[in-house]
């Protein structure tokens, strides 16, 4: 990589969303801002290798992008724009117009940009697409692949969403204090969806210029810095750190999914696990008496949800679901509950914040278990019970059934599966988990029937292969 290449990559990461934010602040035209910043980067790609990298890359790009916007406005001026512009307050406009060094403004524009892209008047899918485009800086092609939408469809959707952003009266502003919590919940949901869109088991890796996990975490850090102490931001940051810490062990060298019990825990990112656990501690009431297992630096760390938890504790591990480890810890030897989870969190917490916090606590249990066999399943089962009580989600119940079977045996887990087929029809993980638990309980024929039921529903080839091998090995036992 030449110095110009790496300067471009750095500038893109550091300045993309700030430049967009500054230009929207000044000109109230999200569509022009986006094109202009793209053009400025293209221009930089041509000029920097020849003319050298400017000292202040951000200022260079801002100047170039501004010139583009002004050119476009001049050519549009013939036909005066009648539609209303995005709403930008005068203070913001003045600040954006005065900015020479975009680094000086860092965060305010970014924050406004995030809240605008995640405005509740924008369709949920479009919030994710807009955030990936404007805040993270992905291309339409990349976004289409991530969200499993055809490029032409994605382009049309983004065009419409940008039009909405520009002219439906959505403010380019941080929401009023009274609405901040509910608006932050919307932002958090979008960030989580953006994070999980980076993990599609069986879909093949999407080559991106950025690691979406890193980007989502970086965004949450920005939010936490600007709006400190918000529970939903801290809880989600903890959850994403704990999930992301395992990224290097999820796939083997051939690109196949490696299940949680088989992952090399020495390759999990210990610093991220420690930070996630510390964030959870900061969310819990002081003096709850819970000692974070991760404070033991010698303990290899781990994480992720057990079977069926794809929509809950760990979206990155859907293939784990059909493979409970079968090595549950002795329930009597462990505390049945994490006092950290029971402790009332300080201040106001939205339901979503509590949900993320419980998911993060589950991820932390996995992350801090020295080995898979040391996993504190009774604690995890208890956390899932709380999560199910909060959300009423059948997917959570499925994950809970696995945790309970690890903690208290397969029969207890099987009881929790009752009624789930109706709640999750066409969900292959219900019969897959049932099959695994039946096999463990020694009901071989019923287990085989359940594996066949799961095979009739599964679509993911990796999981199909896995289920087929389980069914075959059942016959050999």
């Amino acid at each position: 990589m030449t110095p110009a290449d790496s300067a471009l990559a750095d500038a893109w990461r550091d300045h993309w969303s700030r430049l967009i934010g500054l230009l929207i602040g000044q000109f109230a035209r999200p569509d022009l801002a986006e094109d202009a910043v793209s053009d400025a980067f293209e221009s930089a790609a041509r000029h920097w290798p020849v003319d050298g990298v400017p000292t202040n890359t951000g200022a260079w790009l801002l100047t170039a992008a501004r010139r583009r916007v002004l050119d476009r406005l001049r050519s549009e001026a013939v036909q005066r724009r009648k539609e209303p512009l995005m709403v930008v307050d005068d203070e913001m406009r003045a600040a954006a117009a005065a900015a020479v060094d975009p680094g000086a403004h860092v965060a305010d524009e970014q924050l406004r940009l995030i809240f605008a892209c995640c405005h509740p008047a924008i369709a949920p899918d479009d919030r994710v697409a807009l955030t990936l485009r404007f805040v993270v800086g992905l291309t339409t092609t990349e976004i289409g692949r991530l969200l499993l939408v055809q490029e032409s469809t994605m382009a049309a959707r983004l065009t419409r969403a940008k039009k909405r952003l520009a002219s439906s009266g959505i403010p380019f502003a941080t929401p009023a204090a009274a609405r901040l919590d509910e608006r932050l919940d919307v932002v958090a949901t979008v960030v989580y969806l953006a994070f999980t869109s980076g993990y599609h088991p069986g879909e093949g890796a999407v080559p991106l210029r950025v690691d979406l996990g890193d980007e989502a975490i970086r965004l949450l850090r920005v939010l936490d810095g600007l709006l400190p102490g918000r529970a939903v931001v801290r809880a989600l940051l903890a959850l994403l750190l704990l999930q992301h810490s395992r990224r290097d062990t999820r796939l083997d060298t051939a690109g196949a999914l490696v299940l949680l019990p088989d992952q090399d825990r020495s390759r999990w990112h210990r610093d991220e696990i420690a930070e996630g656990v510390a964030l959870l501690e900061s969310l819990a009431a002081r003096g709850a008496g819970w000692t974070a297992p991760a404070s033991d630096a010698a303990a290899p760390a781990g994480r992720s949800a057990p079977a069926g938890a794809t929509a809950t504790a760990d979206p990155t591990d859907s293939a784990d679901s059909s493979a409970p480890s079968g090595r549950g810890a002795d329930p009597a030897a462990r505390e049945p509950a994490s006092p950290l989870a029971d402790a009332p969190a300080p201040g106001h917490q939205t339901r979503l914040a509590t949900e993320y916090r419980l998911q993060a606590l589950i991820a932390a249990e996995h992350a801090t278990a020295p080995t898979s066999a040391d996993t504190r399943w009774p604690v995890i089962a208890n956390l899932y019970a709380q999560l199910e009580a909060l959300t009423g989600s059948p997917v959570v119940r499925l994950a809970r059934a696995v945790a309970v079977s690890e903690a208290s045996g397969p029969e207890a887990g099987l009881q929790l599966l009752e009624g789930l087929d109706d709640a999750l029809p066409r969900h292959h993980r219900v019969p897959a988990v049932r099959a695994e638990l039946l096999a463990r309980a020694g009901h071989r024929e019923a287990a085989a029937d359940a594996y066949r039921a799961a095979l009739s529903l599964v679509t993911n080839p990796t999981e199909r292969t896995y289920l087929q091998s389980r069914l075959t090995s059942l016959g050999r036992r």
């Binding site: 009648k82 539609e83 209303p84 709403v87 307050d89 405005h119 509740p120 008047a121 924008i122 369709a123 479009d126 419409r160 039009k163 909405r164 002219s167 439906s168 009266g169 959505i170 403010p171 502003a173 929401p175 009023a176 609405r179």
Partner: protein, 76 residues
């Protein structure tokens, strides 16, 4: 008496008329829940119109009662 004239398909109104933003700029509100786009109710009859000046969409949304179906569009 006072009357309201609704224009369709870009029909030109006499002087003094208001132009509504396109459907893409509309925001539907049903009992405080937002949705993007125009309201698409099968049996809803238009029962009232309000024209107001506000700095942005959020201010308009805050002004609406907690229940009922509304559609908000910019106009000029």
């Amino acid at each position: 008496m006072r009357f309201v004239v609704l224009a369709f398909d870009d029909a030109l109104l006499p002087a003094g008329g208001l132009t509504l933003g396109s459907v893409d700029t509309a925001t539907s509100v049903q009992d405080r829940t937002l949705r993007d786009g125009a309201f698409e109710g099968p049996t809803s009859a238009l029962t009232g119109i309000q024209v107001l000046d506000a700095p942005d969409l959020d201010v308009v949304l805050e002004s609406l009662p907690p229940t009922g179906t509304f559609e908000v569009r910019p106009a000029w």
